[in-house]
C-alpha cells in the first residue's frame, strides 16, 4: 500500500483555509477599486456618510434622553439593554440562515469534506465565516452608537478598544448557537417529531410575544403631570432586557460599566461574556464539529422533508401516476381522443389578463423560483412585516399627531421608510434576478423574444408586484395619520413613481453588473453591483423625500403653502426619478440586446 503524508492538524488546516480565503477576499476588494475608481469612491463615501449621519442621530438622541431630569442615565442604560437584546435575536436568526447555507449548500464545504482536512477545521472555518457574514451589519450599526455613547458620556480612550473586544466576543455566541441550530435542523428536519416540535416551539414563542406585547395608553394629562409614573411603567415593562441570563445583558452591562468608570462591574460582565464565548467557541471546535459529517450526509441524501406525512405521500403518488400515463411515449389513445393537457392555474390566470405566452412563461418561472426559495419570501415577509408593524403602531401616537407639523413630518418619514424598505427588497431580490440565470442566461437570451424583452418583463413584473405592497403600506400609513383623500393620493402617486424607479435601478444595474458565476443571491448582492444598487437607491430616496417635503402642498405649519413651490418640487422629483431609473434601465436594455451578453462576466 502507498504511504500517505501525515494529515495536517486541525489548527494548521484551519490556518491554511483561512489564509486562502483571506487572500481571495483581499483581491476581491482590490478588484473593486481597479474596475471603477469613481464608483468605488462613491461606495466608500456612502459608508463614511452613513457613519457620520448615524453618529449624529445617535448623538442627538442620547443627549436628548440624557436631559430627562434625574432619570436620563437610567433611560439611556435601559435603551442600550433593549437595543442589544433585540439585535441579539436578529443576529441569532441571521446566523441560523447563514450557517445552514454555509455548511450545507456551499461548494467549499463539500470540497474540503473530500480532503484529509479535520472536520474541526472545516466546521470552525465555516462557522467563523458565517459569523463574520452575519455580524458585519451588527457592527456597522452599533459602531456609531457606541461612539456617540462614548462622546456623550465623556469616556476615556480605552473604552473604544474594550467595546470592540466585547462586541467581537458577543458575536461568537449567536454565531455558535446559530450553527448548532442549523446542525440540528439539517440532521433532523425530515423527522416528523422534529417538525411538530419546532412548530410547537414557534407557536409558543408567538403566543408569548402576543401576550407580552402590550401597548401602554398614555394620556396628555399623564405625560404632563405624572411623567415619573409613566417612565416607571416604561422601565417596568422593559425589565426583561436586563435579565442576567441574556448575553446581550452581559455585553451592555460591561460596556456601560466601562463607560461610567465602574471598571469592576465592567470586568465582571466582560469575563462572564468571555467565558461563555470561549466555552461555546470551544464546543464549536470540538463537539459540534463532529456532528457535521452526519448532518451534511443527511442533507445531501434527503428527499422531501415532508416525506413522512401521509398527505404528502398521497400527493406524490398522484403525481407519479400522472407521469406514469405519459411514460407510454405518446401512444395513440383508443378511439382517437387527444390526451388532455393538465392545466396550470397560474398560467391560466395570466392568460386571462391577456398576457402573451412568453411573458407568462417568464413570470411563472420567476414566481415559482421565488416561492420555492423559502429564504427569499421569508425575508420579504420580515422586511414588510416590520414596517407594517411600525405603521400600525402609529395609531398609539394619535394624540401626539394632532399637530400639522408632526403629521407632515411622520407622513414624509413613512414615505422614506417604505421606499428604503423597498430598496432593500429590490436590491436583494430584483438586482440578482439576471445574474441568477447564470450560465443558463442563453436559454432566455436565444429564445425568439430576446434577452432585452425578458429583462423588460422581469422589470414590469417586479414593479407591479412590489407596487401592491408599497401602495398598501402607503394607504395604511395615510389612514392611520388621518390624512385626507387628496393627501393619500399624493403619497400614492409619489410611492408609485419611486417603486418604478427603484425597480428600474435594480433591474438596470443587475444587467449592467451581472455575476453569472455565483448561484447564491446573497453573494451576488454583496458584490460591487449590489452595493452600488443599494447606495444609488438610498441616495435617490433621500433626495426625493427631501425635495417632496420641501415643496409639500400642505405646508409645514399653519402657513399657506406656495403652489408654485409644490409644482416645482414635484417636477424636480419626477425628473430625478426619470434620470435615476430610466438611465440604468435604458443602458441595460441596450446591453441585453447586444450579441455576446451571455459571455458576460
Amino acid at each position: 500500500m502507498r504511504t500517505a503524508p501525515d494529515p495536517l492538524g486541525a489548527r494548521d488546516a484551519f490556518m491554511l483555509v483561512a489564509r486562502a480565503n483571506a487572500l481571495g477576499a483581499w483581491r476581491r476588494l482590490g478588484s473593486i477599486g481597479g474596475r471603477s475608481r469613481l464608483t468605488a469612491v462613491a461606495g466608500a463615501a456612502f459608508v463614511a456618510g452613513y457613519g457620520l449621519i448615524a453618529y449624529a442621530i445617535f448623538h442627538l438622541g442620547l443627549r436628548f434622553v440624557m436631559r430627562f431630569p434625574g432619570l436620563g442615565s437610567l433611560l439611556v442604560e435601559r435603551l442600550l439593554f433593549l437595543l442589544f437584546a433585540f439585535l441579539m435575536v436578529l443576529l441569532l436568526l441571521s446566523n441560523v440562515v447563514i450557517a445552514y447555507s454555509n455548511l450545507f449548500r456551499n461548494r467549499e464545504a463539500s470540497f474540503l469534506a473530500s480532503l484529509p482536512v479535520p472536520v474541526e477545521a472545516v466546521f470552525t472555518w465555516k462557522v467563523l465565516e458565517g459569523t463574520l457574514l452575519a455580524s458585519w451589519a451588527f457592527v456597522f450599526l452599533v459602531a456609531p452608537l457606541l461612539v456617540a455613547y462614548g462622546v456623550v458620556q465623556g469616556v476615556p480612550w480605552h473604552f473604544y478598544p474594550f467595546a470592540f473586544v466585547l462586541v467581537s466576543l458577543f458575536a461568537v455566541i449567536p454565531g455558535t448557537l446559530g450553527a448548532a441550530t442549523a446542525l440540528a435542523v439539517a440532521r433532523h428536519l425530515d423527522r416528523k417529531a422534529f417538525q411538530v416540535g419546532s412548530l410547537v416551539v414557534v407557536g409558543f414563542l408567538a403566543a408569548a410575544v402576543v401576550r407580552g406585547w402590550r401597548t401602554e395608553e398614555i394620556t396628555d394629562e399623564q405625560l404632563e403631570a405624572r411623567a415619573l409614573a409613566v417612565v416607571d411603567r416604561l422601565l417596568s415593562n422593559t425589565r426583561a432586557a436586563q435579565s442576567p441570563f441574556l448575553p446581550s445583558q452581559w455585553l451592555s452591562a460591561s460596556i456601560q460599566g466601562w463607560g461610567e468608570g465602574a471598571l469592576r462591574t465592567a470586568a465582571f460582565y466582560g469575563m462572564v461574556l468571555a467565558a461563555h464565548s470561549l466555552l461555546l467557541g470551544r464546543l464549536a471546535c470540538s463537539y459540534l464539529a463532529h456532528a457535521l459529517p452526519g448532518a451534511a450526509s443527511a442533507v445531501h441524501g434527503r428527499a422531501s422533508v415532508l416525506g413522512r406525512w401521509s398527505w404528502f405521500q398521497r400527493r406524490q403518488a398522484g403525481r407519479r401516476a400522472m407521469a406514469g400515463t405519459w411514460a407510454i411515449g405518446g401512444a395513440p389513445i383508443p378511439g382517437g381522443a387527444r390526451p388532455s393537457v393538465p392545466g396550470d392555474p397560474m398560467d391560466t390566470a395570466l392568460a386571462w389578463m391577456g398576457l402573451r405566452p412568453e411573458t407568462r412563461a417568464i413570470i411563472t418561472k420567476d414566481a415559482r423560483m421565488f416561492w420555492r426559495d423559502t429564504t427569499q419570501w421569508g425575508q420579504t415577509v420580515l422586511l414588510f412585516g416590520l414596517l407594517a408593524g411600525y405603521i400600525i403602531n402609529l395609531r398609539h401616537f394619535s394624540r401626539q399627531l394632532d399637530s400639522a407639523f408632526w403629521v407632515s413630518m411622520v407622513s414624509y418619514l413613512n414615505l422614506g421608510a417604505c421606499a428604503l424598505n423597498l430598496a432593500t427588497l429590490t436590491t436583494r431580490f430584483v438586482f440578482p434576478q439576471f445574474s441568477l440565470e447564470g450560465r443558463r442566461v442563453w436559454l432566455v437570451g436565444l429564445a425568439p423574444m430576446g434577452l432585452a424583452r425578458a429583462v423588460r418583463i422581469q422589470f414590469w413584473t417586479a414593479s407591479w408586484t412590489t407596487l401592491l405592497l408599497t401602495l398598501a403600506l402607503t394607504v395604511l400609513s395615510g389612514a392611520i395619520l388621518r390624512l385626507g383623500p387628496a393627501r393619500i393620493l399624493y403619497f400614492m402617486a409619489a410611492m408609485t413613481v419611486m417603486t418604478f424607479t427603484l425597480n428600474a435601478i435594480a433591474s438596470g444595474l443587475g444587467v449592467l453588473h451581472p455575476n453569472l458565476r455565483e448561484a447564491q443571491p446573497a453573494k451576488i448582492v454583496s458584490g460591487f453591483g449590489g452595493t452600488l444598487c443599494l447606495v444609488l437607491s438610498f441616495v435617490y430616496i433621500i433626495a426625493s423625500v427631501v425635495v417632496l417635503a420641501m415643496g409639500s402642498p400642505w405646508g409645514w405649519r399653519d402657513d399657506a403653502p406656495s403652489s408654485a413651490a409644490a409644482a416645482a418640487a414635484w417636477l424636480a422629483f419626477v425628473l430625478l426619478s426619470a434620470l435615476a431609473g430610466w438611465l440604468p434601465l435604458r443602458m441595460a436594455f441596450l446591453k441585453a440586446a447586444q450579441p455576446g451578453i451571455t459571455e458576460a462576466r
Partner: protein, 253 residues
C-alpha cells in the same frame, strides 16, 4: 483499492443506490456508465465520503470511509463534475494550497508541480487568477491539483467535459500512466468511447443497481451485441429489466 459492500442509499422513498457490491483492484481503471439519475454520482459521493450509505460499507485503500475517514481521504483524490476552485487564487497558489492540505512538504509540492504543470500546459496560466480562466483550463487545474499528492485512488466524475481533444488526450495518457504505476481509477462518464478506450473494466449502473460489470467484450457477450460499446450499453439499459447485479466472466464483483 475501492470496496463497496452491499451499499444502499435512499433519497426518501427512492433507492438511489440499491445494494451495490463492487471491488476495484489496485492499479485498475474502472469506468462506470449509466443513464441520467442512475445513481453514479451518488455512488461516487459515497466513495469520496461526502454521503454516508444507509447500509453497507465503503472502503478506500483499506480504510472504512465512515469509521476511519482521514487515512482514506489522505490516499484519495476526488474531482467532481463541477470542481470547486478558489476563484481569486492563481493555479499555482491553488496547487500549493491543496498540496499543503495533504501534508506535502514544499519540496514535494514543487517536484510534483514541476512534472504536472508542463503536462497539463498550465505554465502560461500559472500566475493568473482562476476566475479569468476558461472552463477547460480550470478543469485541468482541478485534475492537476488532485494528482499532486500522488493518490492511491483517483475518483473523477465526467473528466472530459470542457476539455479539447488535445487536453483530453493528455488527461487520458496521464491517468493510464498512473494506473500502470499502481493507482486505482474510478471514472464516471456518459461517453462510452472513453470507457471503451480507457477502462480495464466497465460497470453499468441502472436504477441504482450495478447491472453489469466486466471488460467491453464481456458486456458485448452479455448484451448479444458487437461493435462499439454504446450498443452493449443501450441493449443492457433499455432492452431489459435486469433483476440484480450480474457478474460476467472475467469480471470482479
Amino acid at each position: 483499492m475501492i470496496e463497496l459492500d452491499d451499499v444502499t442509499k435512499r433519497f426518501g422513498d427512492v433507492r438511489a443506490v440499491d445494494g451495490i457490491t463492487l471491488t476495484v483492484r489496485p492499479g485498475e481503471f474502472f469506468c462506470v456508465l449509466g443513464p441520467n439519475a442512475a445513481g453514479k454520482t451518488t455512488t461516487i459521493k459515497m466513495i469520496a465520503g461526502l454521503i454516508r450509505p444507509d447500509s453497507g460499507r465503503v472502503r478506500v485503500a483499506g480504510f472504512d470511509l465512515v469509521k476511519d475517514p482521514m487515512p482514506a481521504r489522505a490516499r484519495l483524490a476526488y474531482v467532481p463534475d463541477f470542481p470547486f476552485l478558489y476563484e481569486k487564487l492563481t493555479p499555482w497558489e491553488f496547487l500549493r494550497f491543496t498540496g499543503q492540505l495533504f501534508g506535502m512538504s514544499r519540496e514535494a509540492i514543487h517536484a510534483a508541480a514541476a512534472s504536472l504543470v508542463p503536462r497539463f500546459q498550465l505554465a502560461e496560466w500559472l500566475h493568473k487568477p482562476i476566475d479569468s480562466l476558461s472552463h477547460g483550463t480550470r478543469q485541468r487545474v482541478a485534475i492537476a491539483s488532485a494528482l499532486l499528492h500522488d493518490p492511491a485512488v483517483f475518483v473523477i466524475d465526467e473528466p472530459m467535459v470542457g476539455l479539447d481533444p488535445h487536453h483530453a488526450r493528455v488527461v487520458k495518457d496521464i491517468l493510464r500512466e498512473r494506473v500502470d504505476a499502481g493507482m486505482t481509477v474510478f471514472l464516471s462518464t456518459h461517453q462510452t468511447s472513453v470507457a471503451e478506450e480507457m477502462a480495464d473494466r466497465v460497470g453499468i449502473i441502472h436504477r441504482g443497481r450495478l447491472v453489469a460489470s466486466g471488460t467491453p467484450a464481456d458486456l458485448h457477450r452479455q448484451a448479444g451485441t458487437h461493435g462499439a460499446l454504446e450498443a452493449a450499453f443501450l441493449a443492457i439499459t433499455e432492452g431489459q429489466q435486469l433483476a440484480g447485479p450480474q457478474t460476467l466472466p472475467g469480471g470482479h464483483p
